[in-house]
């Protein structure tokens, strides 16, 4: 219990960010028309590709003789990039179709 209490106290600012971001996410999205559900889901999907930053950090600080970390780190960067690039490109393609006619 002490450990968790410590964790809470040490990461108070992070916890604040989490709570406020949760409300922000709900607020930002709550009035979306049904026609945009799919593009929005796809856009959100691309945004959680931000996990790639973690992959870069893992890879960037892996020691040169730690093959497990290097291999998995490399894989993680590839997968993270797939998420980011694929996500944004797919979303853009969907939205391009809405743009054509007025």
């Amino acid at each position: 219990m002490d450990a968790l209490a410590n964790f809470f106290l040490e990461n108070q600012d992070m916890i604040y960010i989490v709570i406020l971001s949760i409300f922000l996410g709900i607020e930002v999205i709550s009035h979306v028309p049904a026609i945009l559900h799919t593009p929005l889901m796809s856009g959100a999907n691309a945004i959680h590709g931000v996990v790639i930053i973690g992959a870069i950090i893992v890879m960037g600080h892996a020691k040169s003789d730690d093959y497990l970390a290097l291999t998995l780190g490399f894989l993680a960067v590839v997968l993270g990039t797939l998420n980011v690039v694929g996500g944004f490109v797919v979303t853009n393609r969907m939205l391009e179709m809405f743009k054509k006619k007025k």
Partner: protein, 488 residues
Amino acid sequence: MRIENGVSRYSQFSVLNFPFFILNSIMTAFLLELSYLLGSITFVVGLKKLSHPETARQGNLLAAAGMGLAILATVLFHEHNGERIGNIGWIVAAMGIGTAIGWTMAMKVKMTGMPQMVSFFNGMGGACAAIISIVEYHSHPEGAAGYFLVVFLGLVIGSVSFSGSMIAFGKLDEKIKDFSAKWLTVFNLVLLAVIIGILVTAVTSPETFGPNVLWILLVLSLLYGVLFVMPIGGADMPVVISLLNSLTGMAAAFGGFLYDNQIMLTGGILVGSAGTILTVLMCKAMNRSLLNVIIGSFGGSAAGAAAARGDQTVKEISLTDSAILCSYATRVCIVPGYGLAVAQAQHICHDLEKQLESKGVEVYYAIHPVAGRMPGHMNVLLAEADVPYPKLIEMEDANGMMNSTDVAIIVGANDVVNPSAEDDPGSPIYGMPVIKVWEAKNVIVMKRSMRSGYAGIENPLFFHAKTKMLFGDAKDTLQKLVSEVKMT
């Protein structure tokens, strides 16, 4: 929380860092955090813009730019115990591979395949988060309870999201069949309880399982992801993808906790909460509770409703008669469904609409919120075929217009026009809002065969007094109908 790191001080490829050598640590840290702040802002503003039709595209590009900035800043400025990011050659190579594959896949996929594509990319993000946890734990097997909590949660949620998304991808791509059984529901609950139990024990008393707990959790989570999506039927798949999407967001956020990284935290949580709300909105559109989607599987209970079919017969209609019926109507409503998308018939559907309009018939499309395989999917498909925006009428407004509609043409839709949802409490979709096509004066159902819809439920509409069936492939039939209308 920062994790203690080893001591090797030099970074390879330091040549690449050269221009930034002149910047001191405070400057690089400032630039990094500033980029993260800007990135976080673009995510919020981007999501906001994504929820309005006029600004959606801009919002997506803005968020992408913010992501690019954050990635670049991480590579250039990230420092840990005085060490810059190393292995830059490998990182750039990995990003090159990821970009090439991701770009190609995203450009090649057909609009009908969009839902499974989103599911696939979502799975990649989940896998990425899980791998980060594995490597982190492998390099730093010791730490405080909070550290273990974050690492294991990232691993479990990332893995569930990965394997679940892959199954959802396979199902939507029709490579994997539904599998449901009563015992599976119970088994899944037990499995989930076991995972949570192990996780809690591993966090509170790490010595219980030793370091192998990582692999145990990995295997069990992957298994749970598979078994959790396996029994969920087609109609509920959008909800599942949306749910898995928000799970990956959470997994990314745990990575943010791990590295004290604000942008991962905000981005991840933002998607986590927005995704959850989106999931709830989708459930609402189908009048199902989230719990019901996850625990009770859809297909199993259909048998009860099917029994009512008896020996009712359907009435068929010829192409010529259909053409005449439509051409002399004042108002025609087209109800598109996934069958239209599968047949790639959206362009011909648009032709039919133009042809009828040239005869002075008013044509509109009634769009069910979950038509297609994802909410909004049908709008994307029809937009691809240049159908003007104002012609796409949302369900509630369309239902109001149905009384004054002469002909409702149903193209490849089934469950979204099922009257059982209104009047048969025994039906699994009872209570789901549907398009009340039977209120129109005539109903023409275009359908390949009498097979039941994606959700596996009988549809009494086909036996309705007003209904006439026009059997055949949607694209083919529409094509013929267009030429018949031309001649009429």
